[in-house]
Structure formats: C-alpha cells, structure tokens
C-alpha cells in the first residue's frame, strides 16, 4: 500500500511536469512568431537588406518559414522528439552545441549567486530576528528594501562606474581577459561584480522573509514552553525556531532559483558575460527561433523542477502533513 501510494504520488508529479513542458513549448513557439521582426536577419545578417524579393522567397522556403505556424510546430516537435533541436541560424551549428558552450558560465554565475544568497540570507535573517527592532535590524531592513527597489541594470552600471571606471579595481565586462582562459584569479576577478549584483539584489528579500518567519515562530507558544524548561535563548532559536523555519525556507529557496536565474540574464547582458542570458537576449531579438525555443524550454524545465522540489519539500518534511497521509492509510484498512 505504502509503495503504491508513493508510486502514484511521483507518477502524478512527473505527468504534471511533462504536460507543463509541452504546453510551454507550444506557447513559446506561437508567441515568438507573433512578435514583429525579420527572422532572416539572424541567418543572413546585413545581407538581408540587399536581397531581392525572389531571393527572400527562396530563403524563406529553405528555412521552412512559409508553412503555417502549426505545421512548423509539428515539424519542430517531430525533430525534437528524435533529439534534433535544429541549428542556430546565427551560429550555423547545432543549438545544443551553442548552448553547451555557454551554459557553464551561467551555471557558475547563478550557482555562486545562489549559494551566497542561501547562506547569507539565513545568517542575516537570524541575526535580525535575534536583534529584533534593534538599530542593526532596522538598518538592515531599510537598506534591504531600498536595494530591492533599485533595478539590476542600474545598480550594475553604477558599480561598473565606481569599481571599474573610477577605481580600476575590477574588470567591467566578459568572463575572462583575452588569453587568460585558464587563469583562476582572473576568472574570480571577472565574477566578483556580476555575482555581487545578483546577490545584492535578492539577498534582502530572502533575509527579510527568514527574519519574519523566525519572529513568527518566536511568538509561538511552544517557545514559551521551551524557555520554561530552561533552554537558553540560543538553544531555543537554533533548535526550535530555525528548525521549524527550514522547510519553508528550503521551499522558498527552491522557488527563488528561477528568480535568481532571471537576475543573471540581465546582469549577463549588462556585463556582456558569455552565458545563456546574453544568448537568450540575442536570439529573441534577432528571431533565432531554434535557439530561442531550446533556451526557453530549458529555463522552463528549471522553473517547473524548482517548483516541484519546493512542493515536495513542503509536503515531505513537515511531520504534520506526513501524518495526514499515514492516518488516511490507516483508515483504509478499517472496515
């Protein structure tokens, strides 16, 4: 009984996942074709302007753009199921290769950002909750609100202006200096500003959430009992409050992954950082349909996976929810 239930549980989740991805691909496919712009530009570049109508017609025919959108979509689906996502019109190679060459950079940037946000927002949240309504808590909350309001691109420009242009401490763009691809220190130097901006923009929000969640727990009755049995403030905070905050924090962080990724896209564009963010921007702008499709689907899969993780964390970690399932199962056996 137990095993079957679990099988059904995960089966449902996987089905939701597949259906979501399918719907996503259809929507992206149609919407990208609704947007104005000339898809031939991405394939032929500036040459498009000199093309005769006949040549244009031939090019469109060759790229399959003359068929109706539905036919194009079915064709794309057919290829995709066989593992062929087409070639990038701009780079003239398989889109998988194009993305494969860049995704490492984005994962490095986003992953580092995520780790920093994960650790620091927890620490900051606990610190603020500990010193509730103290000057430090108030200052952090206020500064946090302020920085959350500043758009990422503006913050990036200001920091570039300060640290790169004026102080010359840090490089202003790229993932590494020319010819120093293997130089670790150089890579780190290039990462400091983008990662810093991603972290600065998201940290406060999550820290604030942690703080409020902990304060909610601190006001709960069981804290009073824990203190009445003689636990110190620190033990109550870490053994009881933080422990109870963790499930919701983990699921929150799981949902935050797409947000952080979205943040890296913008930062990548500003810093001309060779990741999939810049790639996505270019492909959307110049109508590189195949590339755009795969990028959107990859991002979509990430978002859906993160949401699923959050859901599973929520449902599995809390003993109250787990218990519900147990009691339901028990009653099945009763006549």
């Amino acid at each position: 009984m137990k095993k079957r239930n679990r099988f059904v549980y995960y089966g449902k989740k996987i089905l939701t996942f597949v259906v979501s991805v399918f719907i996503l691909s259809a929507v992206v496919f149609y919407v990208s074709r609704l947007a104005p712009g000339d898809p031939l530009v991405s394939y032929y570049g500036d040459r498009v302007e000199k093309m005769t109508p006949g040549e244009r017609e031939w090019a469109k025919e060759r790229l399959g753009l003359n068929d109706s959108v539905t036919v194009q979509y079915v064709r794309w689906l057919d290829h995709a199921f066989r593992g062929d996502f087409g070639i990038s019109w701009k780079y003239k190679t398989d889109v998988v290769d194009v993305i494969g060459g860049r995704i490492g950079n984005t994962l490095l940037l986003g992953g580092l950002g995520f780790v920093f946000i994960f650790v620091f927002s927890l620490l900051l949240g606990v610190w603020c909750a500990w010193h509730e309504e103290g000057p430090a808590d108030r200052m952090i909350c206020n500064v946090g609100t302020l920085t959350s309001c500043i758009p990422e691109f503006w913050l990036s420009l200001v920091l570039i202006l300060v640290f790169s242009v004026t102080l010359h401490w840090l490089p202003s763009s790229g993932a590494y200096s020319v010819g120093k691809e293997r130089d670790f220190a150089d890579r780190v130097m290039h990462l400091i500003l983008p990662v810093g901006i991603v972290v600065l923009n998201h940290l406060w929000y999550y820290a604030y959430m942690v703080r409020n969640k902990i304060l909610e727990e601190v006001r709960a009755d069981y804290v009073l009992l824990a203190r009445a049995k003689g636990l110190t403030k620190r033990a109550v905070m870490f053994r009881h409050c933080l422990r109870n905050v963790m499930p919701s924090y983990l699921s929150l962080m799981a949902i935050s992954v797409p947000h952080i990724l979205g943040g890296t896209y913008i930062v990548e564009t500003v810093f001309s950082y060779p990741g999939i963010g810049t790639l996505a921007y270019e492909s959307a702008r110049y109508k590189d349909y195949n590339l755009l499709m795969l990028l959107c689907i990859l991002s979509g899969i990430l978002v859906i996976l993160c949401n699923l993780t959050a859901q599973i964390i929520n449902e599995r970690i809390d003993p109250r929810i787990r218990e519900q399932e147990v009691s339901e199962r028990l009653e099945v056996t009763e006549p």
Partner: protein, 657 residues
C-alpha cells in the same frame, strides 16, 4: 526559610503605545513546599502575568517595577537571563493553556521531553536518557512510552499533548509547577483526567503547584489555598475552605454567585455588573467598587489594606473595617442547592410550569436518522454523524452536548442546510429541507426563519463591514422592507434589543470586545425575526461573566418571544441552567435524550454518567473526595436503538447502565 516562594509587593507593568499597563499591582503571597495555591479571577486580571513574571518569561515591554521575588532561598528579583535559565525547569516550571500549540510540531514528543531532561542533567545520555523519558511518560499516564516517544505532537490528542507538556515540565524535578489554565482548552472529561493527574503528581512528588484558572470548580478540586485576583491585585487569600465557605470580599461573592450552579431555580444567572477596569489608569481606591453594589464611600477614595480574618485568611475590603456596616454575604453555603431540599423542588416546579407556558406540542424541527460522512479522499471517510434523531418543539431550548469531535456542529450545519446530509431527513415545519425541490420552493421562508450564531464571533463577522451593515445585511439579501423606517433604524432597534449601545452602530467588529461581537451576531440573527435559532457553541469563547449575560439574553428571548433554540455547548452547567431538553452526543451517535432535570438527576447511559461525573463542583469538601468515572469507549455501548425508558427519556439500549 520555610517558604519555597515568597513574593513581596510585586508590581509589573507593560510599557506600550497606549501608556503604562499596570498588570500586577502590589502583590504579595507565599507558597510552602508541596502546597497547591490556586489563583482565580476574570481574564485580564493579571493572573498569567504574575506567574510569567516570577519565571521572567514576559516579553521585553514588561518590567518589574518594584517588589521582590524570593525562590528556593535566594532573591531572584534581579537575576539575569543567564541565571534564570539555570533555574527554569529545575526550580520552577510551567504548563500552558493550549496543549495544541505549546509543543513544537516538528520535533517528536520523546525528543522534546529528552531535551528538557538534558538541560539540567547533561550527563544523562543514550539508554539512560530513553529510560528517563519513558519513566516520565509513564508518570503522566502515557501508555506504551517506547512507541509513543517517537510520535509527533500531531499524532497525540489534546489531553495526551497536555500530559506530554506536563512531562516536559516535570523533567527537571522542579520544586514549583506553574499551571496556567491547564485545562481550559480541554473537554470536560479530559479536564477531569488532567486534574486527577496533577493531583496525583503533586502527592507523589511533592511538587508545589500554582494553579491559575477562572473556573471555581477546578479550584475546589485541586487547591489547598486560593488567591482571588482582581485588577492586578490579590483581593482575598485563604485556604480553600475559607474562600469557599466564608468568602469576605465582594468580588469573591460575585464570582461565587456567578456560578450557574448557584442560580438554579432562578430565572436568570447572576452576573457581576460591568467589566474589569482597564489597567492603563486603574481607578483610585478599591478597583472593584464600581461593580460592587455594597460599595462604601471610602471604596472610591482609598485603597483598602489587607484585613486579617484568620491567620491564613486575608481580604482587602473596607467591609472588614470595624466601622463598616455589617453586610451579610449574599452567598449561601456552596452546594446548598444540591442537597435535594426544598429549593430544588421549588425550582423544578417553576421550571415545569415554565416549560408548559413556553413550549407547545407543535414540532418545529424533526430530525430523523440523520447521518453524515466526510470523505477524506477517494477511499476513506469519517462518519461524523450516525443515525441521529430528535425533535425540537416550538418555543423550546434543546441542548446538544458532547465532547469536541462528537458531531454536534455537523448536526447544526445539516439543520441549517449548510451541509447536505448523506442519509436521513430533516423536516422543518413539515417541509423536508433535504429535498432540493421542496427546499427551492420554500427557500425564502426557510432561510429567513432559521438563523445561526457561531462560536467564534471574531471570524463570523466581516471585519471590513460596519456593525449596522452587518446587522442589516441578511434583510437586504432577502429583499425585506425594514419594519422600522430604514435599515439603520432597524439595526439600531436590534442592537438596543440585545443590550448594545447605539454608538457602536458605525464601529467595526475589531473595535468591539468578544461579548459585544457575539451580541452583534445575535442581533444579526434576530433581525430576520427567526423562529429557530441554531447556536453553535455561542458562549465557548467568552469570559465567564459575559457567558452568563449571553445565556440570560437567550433565556429572555425564549420566554418573551417564544424563539426555539438548538443550543450546542460543552459546558454542562450552562446547559443545565438554560435548556429544557438535552441530547447527549458521543462519536456521532445521540446516546441519550431527556428533559434537563431528568437527565441530570437520572442519567442512564454510561457516557452521560461519565460526562456528568466529570463536571467539577465548586465545593472543595465534596470535590476533593470524588473521582471522575471514566467512559471506556467500547463500540457496543454506542450501538443499538434509542428506546424510551421514561417520560420523554430516551437512551441507547446497549449502553444503558
């Protein structure tokens, strides 16, 4: 040093935006080893604050202004948090009101008890720790501790959780146990078990206990000494016998008289007039003077000192001054009314004639073989109500009692067409309300003549609507023309009727107190001029004196206007006072139906007996000798048919004893 705990002239204030709230004012008392001291008073009298300030568990806005606390032979008034941590759990410990929230939901019960053990005895580890936890769980009466310690609080029932909380509190062998309303949130049978448990533990371990409660019945059961608190001060302190049999302070008189048991045979419950004062600017003189019918002129000016009555009995009232006029206590001996003497017979006579006057033979509501099932998921379901049949006559108050989860509310909601029952029929004035067709045909009549009042007035009123709109809304929905000029006039009339001032018309519910909100809910129901009022635990969330006011209002509505009530409650004392007939529910079954006196004097079903024996009686001599009979819930006792064994007295056959 004979006293374990000595509090001298303690004053505690909260400093908040509205000003300084003087929650505890100049309180002195002492507690000897192994003694049980009960602190009683209405809510907001500073009982809890007093206990928490001794353990220094109050939030940062609270401050000890003056006075001293000595515990275990040391002055702990100025102890730091670090020093207090060493004392908490070891010298004193605390049990809180709501067992549902006072355990951490994500840590297993065993681990929480183990944590409490290790705080003061870190040398206990491994096997020995498990043994100690099992021993504690056995001490508080949790069976199979080996299994149960791995369970989470959500797998425990309310009573079991409170036992676990007590185990946590006892883990460090404290010399003093503070119990802050430990049974208020529990059912009456569970309350009896927990009280027995606390008394056992106190005798076995010799733990001195400070018992905070508003229920004098509970006090009678457990206390050696009693302190009565009012407006942050102890106004009377003495042994349980002295307080119960020779109370001296007018407030103690008031509390005693407000017990429903005392009002048997009267038309209305006694209520202490007015409300406790706010403690932001407590009135000069005796704070109780404004609600005291025997107040002397000096009461308004000068605070009375503690007068000595006997060596153990002190009371702060000018009535004890030698110059004061002698006023006989309006309270007789407690328990006098239950001696089966004249008063009781007279009461039964009046009640019978009253019933004849008000209740007719016309059946207003006829519930037959009602069953309701809640599906949990596709395969499983909970049988909330099973084969329940009863009738309500016009002009009658029918009480439905039972523990939480017994299906009372489900019955009420089926009656109101909020749930569609799975089986059975409900006829209101001969109309089958379960049938969709006949319901649609008579919808307007059915909806306007049946009204419901809910337990939680906080959530049953829309917070964003003004009182006058709330009261007029059902009329607007039914497109009724207000009988009194305008909807506003109508709302004003109804508010006046339920005893609310017209100045509350434009207020929002959040600006009103709990009792006032419940009155608004009643006014909303009355505005439709209903014939049947379904009241689902209307008084459970209210303070005792306000409960009495609402019950008086119900009684008045029935007698003067012939309303019929389905009154759902778990407070048996109130039910006994208010209802004409009572049905007892247990696990979805109606086990016994009888006229009120018949049921209370001659209960036949095993469960009814257990339920009645669990009600604490406010009489220490009888109460302390008594133990509650427990109802072993064999399934058999709840099967079978209702059979008539006397005039109007029905009982489930198999459970009859």
């Amino acid at each position: 040093m004979s006293e374990l705990l000595e509090v001298k002239n303690l004053s505690v204030s909260f400093f908040c935006a509205g000003g300084e709230v003087q929650a505890v004012r100049d309180v002195s008392f002492s507690l000897a080893r192994g003694e049980v001291l009960a602190i009683v008073g209405e809510s907001g009298c500073g009982k809890s604050v007093l206990c928490k300030s001794i353990m220094k568990l109050l939030p940062g806005t609270a401050k000890i202004k003056s006075g001293s606390i000595a515990a275990g032979g040391a002055d702990i008034t100025h102890y730091t948090e670090r020093e207090m941590c060493k004392l908490r759990g070891k010298l004193f410990s605390m049990v809180f009101q709501d067992p549902m929230t006072s355990l951490n939901p994500t840590i297993s019960v065993g681990a929480q008890i183990a944590e409490a053990v290790r705080v003061h005895q870190p040398e206990i580890t491994g096997e020995r720790l498990q043994e100690r936890v099992a021993e504690l769980m056995k001490l508080v009466g949790i069976d199979c501790p080996g299994e149960r310690m791995k369970h989470y609080p959500c797998q425990f029932s309310g009573g079991m959780r409170q036992r676990a909380v007590i185990a946590v509190a006892l883990a460090g062998n404290p010399a003093i146990l503070f119990a802050d309303e430990p049974t208020t949130a529990l059912d009456v049978t569970i309350q009896a078990q927990i009280l027995d448990l606390l008394r056992d533990i106190q005798q076995k371990l010799g733990t001195a206990t400070v018992f905070v409660t508003h229920d004098l019945g509970v006090v009678a059961r457990v206390a050696d000494r009693v302190a009565v608190m009012y407006a942050g001060k102890i106004v009377e302190i003495g042994t349980a016998a002295e307080i119960f049999y020779e109370p001296r302070h007018p407030y103690t008189w008031g509390l005693m008289r407000a017990l429903p048991a005392f009002s048997k045979g009267r038309d209305s419950l006694y209520t202490i007039p007015g409300m406790p004062p706010t403690l932001i600017n407590p009135p000069p003189g005796d704070a109780f003077a404004y609600r005291n019918e025997n107040a002397l002129a000096i009461d308004y000016e000068k605070e009375p000192p503690m007068f000595r009555v006997t060596d153990t009995h002190y009371a702060a009232t000018w009535l004890l001054d030698e110059r004061a006029p002698r006023i006989a206590a309006p309270v007789g001996r407690c328990g006098e009314h239950t001696d089966g003497g004249k008063s009781r017979r007279r009461w039964e006579d009046t009640k019978n004639t009253r019933m004849e006057e008000t209740a007719s033979n016309e059946i207003l509501l006829d519930v037959r073989h009602l069953s309701h099932v809640f599906p949990l998921n596709r395969k499983t379901a909970v049988k909330a109500v099973e084969d329940v049949s009863f009738q309500i006559f016009r002009g009658e108050i029918f009480g439905l009692v039972g523990e939480s989860g017994s299906g009372k509310s489900t019955v009420a909601r089926c009656v109101m067409n909020l749930y569609r029952p799975c089986e059975g029929s409900i006829r209101y004035k001969g109309i089958n309300t379960c049938d969709a067709k006949s319901f649609r045909k008579n919808r307007r009549m059915l909806q306007s003549t049946r009204q419901m009042i809910f337990q939680d007035s906080d959530s049953s009123l829309n917070q964003r609507m003004r009182v006058c709109d709330i009261i007029a809304e059902p009329m607007k929905i039914q497109h009724m023309t207000p009988p009194r000029a305008s909807f506003r006039e109508e709302a004003r009339f109804q508010m006046h009727y339920v005893g609310l001032d017209a100045r509350y018309l434009d207020k929002y519910p959040s600006e009103l107190s709990g009792g006032q909100r419940q009155r608004v809910a009643i006014a909303r129901a009355l505005a439709m001029e209903p014939e049947l009022l379904v009241a689902d635990e209307p008084i459970a969330s209210l303070d005792v004196s306000i409960q009495a006011q609402i019950v008086n209002l119900f009684r008045h509505l029935q007698q003067e206007h012939g309303f019929s009530f389905l009154f759902i409650a778990h407070d048996l004392a109130m039910v006994e006072f208010l209802c004409d007939r009572v049905g007892v529910m247990c696990r979805g079954r109606l086990v016994e139906v009888a006229p009120t006196q018949e049921l209370f004097s001659n209960p036949r079903h095993a469960y009814t007996k257990a339920l009645l024996s669990a009600i604490p009686i406010p009489d220490p001599r009888r109460e302390q000798a008594r133990r509650a009979t427990e109802f072993c819930a064999e399934r058999d006792a709840l099967d079978g048919e209702l059979t008539e064994i006397g005039a109007g007295h029905f009982v489930l056959k198999n459970g009859e004893q």
